[in-house]
Symmetry: C2
Subunit: 406 residues, 2 copies
Amino acid sequence: MIINIPENSDFSIHNLPFGIFSTSDRSPRAGIAIGEHILDLAALGELNVFDFNPAVFKKEVLNDFIGLGKAVTSMVRKEVQHWLQDDDSILANKPELFVKQQEATMHMPVHVGDYTDFYSSIEHATNVGKMFRDPENALLPNWKHIPVGYHGRASSIVVSGEPIRRPKGQTLPKDSKTPVFGPSQRLDFELEVGFICGKNTEMGESVSTSDAEDYIFGLVLFNDWSARDIQKWEYVPLGPFLAKNFASSISPWIVTLEALEPFRVAGPAQEPKVLSYLEYEGQKNYDVNLEVGVAPESGEETTVCRSNFKHMYWNMAQQLTHHTVNGCNIHVGDMMASGTISGKEENSFGSMLELAWMGTKPIQMKDGSERKFINDGDTVIMRGYAQKGDIRVGFGEVSSKVLPAK
Amino acid sequence: MIINIPENSDFSIHNLPFGIFSTSDRSPRAGIAIGEHILDLAALGELNVFDFNPAVFKKEVLNDFIGLGKAVTSMVRKEVQHWLQDDDSILANKPELFVKQQEATMHMPVHVGDYTDFYSSIEHATNVGKMFRDPENALLPNWKHIPVGYHGRASSIVVSGEPIRRPKGQTLPKDSKTPVFGPSQRLDFELEVGFICGKNTEMGESVSTSDAEDYIFGLVLFNDWSARDIQKWEYVPLGPFLAKNFASSISPWIVTLEALEPFRVAGPAQEPKVLSYLEYEGQKNYDVNLEVGVAPESGEETTVCRSNFKHMYWNMAQQLTHHTVNGCNIHVGDMMASGTISGKEENSFGSMLELAWMGTKPIQMKDGSERKFINDGDTVIMRGYAQKGDIRVGFGEVSSKVLPAK
């Protein structure tokens, strides 16, 4: 092996995710994470080892590279995987091709044209329905027929490490008919996984569930920051707006679908039967362990949630097929997030809203404090990894500190 | 005058809107509409008449030009206005600077980063509330406190002339509990005006109502295509999605706020009083006549709606201020649409849904046919102009033909 890879590294030889990094003497460029290092693809490209123009690796985002298509991107990953394991390969004795992750700054890996957020965890949708609507009829009538989704804000998607400013907005105090203005009192995270589109469609074109994965380049962890009090007052009838669009945070490394291939599992049975355009064959869920930690400003981190991406009721292929069934066009770099990923157990709920059940069951923190929602100064860290025997493929983390409202 | 301008032209010397055009021998580039002609700004830029790099006029979108700021864009408009009226100016005896509009193809004038649709006409919100909710309590409790808005799809915004494909999707037949899949049976237009952002903000930054117009470059007509049957089944609880994101159509010429200055009027009284961050001074509505025509495949056009942009309850400054009050960042080229602009009179409603009142009052067409919604083969044309004495400033039109579902 060209590079030493620590045991249990998220960035094993089986992973090789793509991202955009810079260092004090390297401008933003494409790289592949391996162990505690990054392979500098821009520098590698200069060695003329690829049969496409390696200028795509010098761009500030991966869109042009991804747009070359899976035949190219998969080949690059496979070649690098091979070279890393061959001590006489093109990568040998070229320390200038590698930088330490701790010396690098990570950037947004893609320019996101459009961002869509789904609502595809039945446990999450049920929990929200129980809290805000009718506990006996928690799921709305359309939920099991439609992978419900809505459009979010692309401009405010930022990468791990960028602090988040607590939003201000209108809320309706209890028993009041008149709203007030001020900082949100119910700032929350949502544990999600987002996929990044790898192929364009034209307006009017639809993608079938059997073709959908060709249009998915890879996945990132996604924190869909939410202001519950703003959301509650604004969201009827046109959906969440200012409660969500102040920020979303993603992990910097895009884990390819190829790397996740060993972790395919069957999704839950869908009953009633879905409409034929949403039917699918094969295993289209992925077994990815997910967890959320909250670290107070000067306290130890507490793990508040352990969930799994396999819980999704609607899979990514169904989401993408539904999104395009009306002819809506998609572009390379578009982001589609899963919606909050909750499991059945109380400690697997993917938001503070559910974990602390609307503030009625505060979460105990290791430093002795309690949380109903997220405090100023807290850092929220999401992590994810898939493991099967010796094969580990991880996402790293998305970590964001909350700053007080301005 | 360098160019002959027909009487009642939308593109008078007082207007001078910006757009992107091409001809058989000119690649897409920036231009200014004047009468029946276009001033080729890329060609003008080559004469070294501006004190900035005129390469911005050779781009395929106006974002970089707009991003130079109003000091520059206003100066260009003023200079051109002056030169057009001076028979000895730099424009004189240079026919190569002008092309006939009928020989040009218009393109999307900007790259739209994010698109937001508001819901700011009280008449429209009231009509919808009467039809779908409670006639006695048509407006929802938040409506007079919040300029309600939601995120839409940027990728499917297209320019006038592009045909629109009837979307397919899920709908719930009357008295059924199970949805069906097929072409929408209730395809509708929504008469809107969209504004294009002219200045970036950073995440965490907010824009006051007094500064908001500095962030608005100009306006276009906006047809927010809607599939009412898909919308009805999908929109609770997260808002419209596939019912809207298959297409939106805009007029190609961006009419600047400066050109609309003579047409400022007072907006409606806002009662109850809005929260202080939404208060504003001065006249922030604009008196722009709007109309919608529907032309069957081989029949005469029927004007089905006459409305006015001045009806808006929430003005653009309030919309932009609300949008950024939580720190949501905006970019040059972002599009924010008004929401359907309905007036009080029945013939001023801005959608077929309202005009034909959910199909109960079909619209009579000049060719003897009736319309409850929009048929395959119909062309929907929206026009808009402001007039005060001799001063006329028009938008041209957004015209789109509906093709049958694939």
